[in-house]
């Protein structure tokens, strides 16, 4: 999918050389169309033997019974060792104690920040807790207004759900309740998280609309924003797009936390490789997954695309261990927690984005927003509730 769908072609010749009987045909799909395309392909019975799935999409495809359980393959495999994968990432692929996907690359979210701005505010280290972060934001804002300028210390886009969910998990919310058949967003934990999020907009630490930040990299270079939560692809983008004079002044840090344990919980995103349950070439499909997710190939893939390997052994390679920017990701990957395994998850978080927008623009109060959001989530989960109550699924 997307860029990696193109880049993976470079790894194919070596595979075909090793397994002369297998020929690989790569179909690239743009990310924006991938989800619909895969579902439609399932309905039409034309899913490929092996395909890539976003980690949050896995439950949908297990509901469809579209995926081959991979435990038997892993048991006899020499290359794929489950304990080599980051725990939180592997758990994302285990549903009802069955393994359905092998992580291909990981994507978790950390903070990208400006060292010089933090230094000027008296922070030689990035903040470890959100309380500290809010203090830092206040200092940056005051320093700016003393100079008569407007600064947004912590950019939290109103069209992203990841920070809201990460905050919620850090606050101890299970997000869904009653065997994942109802929303738990109006519960006290998530409310605490949403209040934290709302305070960034209220105190104008983050702009409450999207119109001000039209070019993230310019805004970051100009100092309009100081901190931003984002993923590994931005290591490459920042290296290319931030002017040379500022290259030594940006860095990455794991998420601050709500308690005293650092880092704070983040999400195991990224993608996995899966086998279509009705594939006629499951053995060959497995060989291909085994090959692509091997330590050796995931290091190579990192070299080509910058996608982070899900295997701890790959991180011992110097290309990764010496990269100062990926260090924060390594630390963060030690503390990622899987998201609820429900087919409706994608639908839920897209709706959550809308409610983030509502509280950012103060269209609704936190309590009102969460109450309405929970009602919508309960409706989305109605079918699941019925199936669970009738013991059709777990």
């Amino acid at each position: 999918m997307g860029n990696e769908g193109e880049m993976v072609r470079q790894l194919i010749p070596e595979f075909e050389r090793r397994y002369p009987g297998i020929k690989v045909d790569v179909q690239q799909v743009p990310w924006t169309a991938a989800h619909e395309k895969l579902l439609t392909a399932f309905a039409g019975g034309s899913l490929p033997d092996v395909f890539q799935l976003g980690n949050t999409w896995l439950p949908e495809f297990t509901v469809l019974n579209a995926l081959e359980p991979l435990d038997p393959y892993v048991r006899t495999s020499e290359l794929t060792r489950p304990d080599d994968f980051f725990d939180g990432v592997l758990k994302t692929n285990i549903l009802d104690s069955t393994l359905y996907g092998i992580p291909w690359y990981v994507d978790t979210r950390v903070v990208f920040y400006r060292k010089d701005v933090l230094r000027a505010a008296g922070f030689s280290q990035p903040p470890h807790t959100w309380a500290e972060t809010l203090r830092l934001c206040e200092i940056i804002r005051q320093q700016a207004s003393a100079r008569g300028i407007k600064r947004y210390p912590f950019f939290l886009p109103t069209n992203e759900w990841v920070p809201a969910v990460a905050f919620g998990m850090q606050a101890g919310s299970s997000l869904l309740k009653d065997q994942n058949t109802r929303g738990d967003f109006s519960g006290p934990q998530f409310r605490k998280a949403f209040q934290l999020l709302a305070s960034f907009y209220e105190k104008e630490y983050s702009p409450s609309g999207m119109q001000l930040i039209t070019n993230l990299y310019n805004s970051f270079s100009e100092g309009l924003i100081t901190m931003y939560i984002t993923g590994p692809w931005n290591i490459g983008e920042f290296s290319r797009r931030i002017p040379d004079s500022l290259q030594s002044e940006w860095m990455t840090a794991p998420l601050p936390s709500m308690d005293t344990i650092s880092p704070g919980i983040s999400l195991p995103l990224g993608t996995s490789l899966v086998i279509f349950g009705k594939s006629k070439q499951k053995e060959a499909a497995w060989k291909f997954i085994e090959y692509l997710t091997s330590t050796e190939q995931s290091i190579k893939f990192y070299g080509i695309t910058g996608s982070l390997p899900p295997r701890k052994s790959a991180w011992r390679d110097t290309s990764l261990s010496r990269n100062i920017y990926s260090r924060a990701f390594y630390e963060q990957l030690q503390r990622v927690e899987p998201l609820p395994h429900v087919a409706e998850w994608e639908q839920i978080v897209i709706k959550l984005q809308l409610y983030v927008e509502y509280i950012a623009t103060r269209t609704m109060t936190v309590d009102e927003a969460l109450r309405k959001f929970d009602a919508e989530v309960d409706q989305m989960l109605e079918k699941r509730r019925w199936l669970v109550e009738n013991k059709r699924i777990r």
């Binding site: 579902l39 399932f42 309905a43 509901v63 999207m210 119109q211 039209t214 509502y358 079918k383 699924i393």
Partner: protein, 301 residues
């Protein structure tokens, strides 16, 4: 005997007629009647992703999908947005295409084929390509539109990012993209007006304005009715413009009924619900078309 022969001939004729109709009829049945009936059937079930995985999980819902639609805030938002688009966009489109048709058809205009072509060009241009250009025009920072507005001292507007301006921005783009089609129909209508009518009225001393109101408009009435009808029906089905420009945002300000249906159906695979949305939209369009026909009848009598 004669009578019998005639009957036989008639029967033969009917059979022949059916044979000629068969290819077209079977296509209509296969690609129209069958899908519409299946959709109707689907709209009284909760066919969804679970049902796609296991057909045993389909439930018969009766009219519950329809009740749920009326109970969904997003449906009413989408309805409001769609009405906004129809009420503002359709008259604008009809007026603009009539104006363009009159100009292109005027005796004073030179290079008629040239203007006809460039006004029609947006209609045949791929919407995705058009969207790329328009998104650039609407860009809050570097967009041409804001640049021009800054000359008269208007502060930059985030056209597609502000819930207040997103729909007007979509309307302007949609009208620009579509008016050429109606313009061609109007031109055809204008060319059907006999030149003698204008000459006679000229001799009677009628000026240009008088000719427009007393000749052009009445003669063009059937064309206008047709154009208004297809424009309204078409505009109710607003989808592609917000789909490529805003994805229904910001804060659902450009979510139309069809966009909502598409998202429910193909993004979340709630097929039963989405099918019900389609029939609700159908009912709305029928309702407005009937009203329009009634108004038309009254005006004629």
């Amino acid at each position: 005997m004669k009578k019998h022969k005639g009957h036989f001939q008639n029967e033969q004729r009917t059979a022949a007629a059916w044979m000629f109709l068969a290819p077209a009829m079977s296509a209509i049945v296969l690609f129209f009647v069958v899908p519409v009936l299946s959709a109707l059937l689907m709209s009284v079930t909760d066919f969804d992703i679970y049902a796609l995985g296991n057909l045993k999980y389909v439930r018969f819902m009766g009219l519950q999908n329809y009740m749920r639609i009326l109970d969904t805030p997003l449906f009413w938002t989408a309805m409001r947005n769609t009405m906004y688009f129809v009420v503002v966009g359709a008259p604008l489109s009809v007026a603009l295409s009539l104006g363009a048709a009159l100009m292109v058809n005027s005796k004073l205009t030179r290079f008629k084929p040239f203007f006809r072509t460039i006004y029609f060009l947006p209609v045949v241009t791929s919407l995705v390509a058009v969207a790329v250009v328009w998104r650039y025009l609407y860009h809050p920072g570097h967009g041409l539109l804001n640049h021009v507005l800054s000359w008269v001292g208007i502060a930059p507007v985030d056209w597609l990012g502000d819930p207040l301006f997103a729909m007007p921005a979509i309307i302007v783009m949609a009208v620009w993209k579509n008016f050429g089609y109606n313009m061609l129909i109007f031109i055809a209508g204008l060319q059907n007006i006999p030149e003698e009518l204008f000459e006679a009225s000229h001799l009677d001393g009628a000026g240009g304005w008088r000719q427009f109101w007393d000749i052009t408009i009445p003669v063009l009435a059937p064309t206008t009715v047709f154009v208004v009808m297809i424009t309204i029906i078409g505009y109710f089905q607003l989808f592609a413009e917000p789909y490529v420009m805003t994805e229904g945002g910001p804060m659902n300000a450009t979510t139309s009924i069809v966009l909502m249906m598409y998202e429910q159906g193909f993004r979340w695979w709630n097929m039963g619900y989405a099918a019900a949305v389609a029939f609700v939209l159908f009912a709305v369009i029928v309702f407005f078309s009937v009203i329009q026909m009634l108004i038309q009848k009254r005006m004629q009598s």
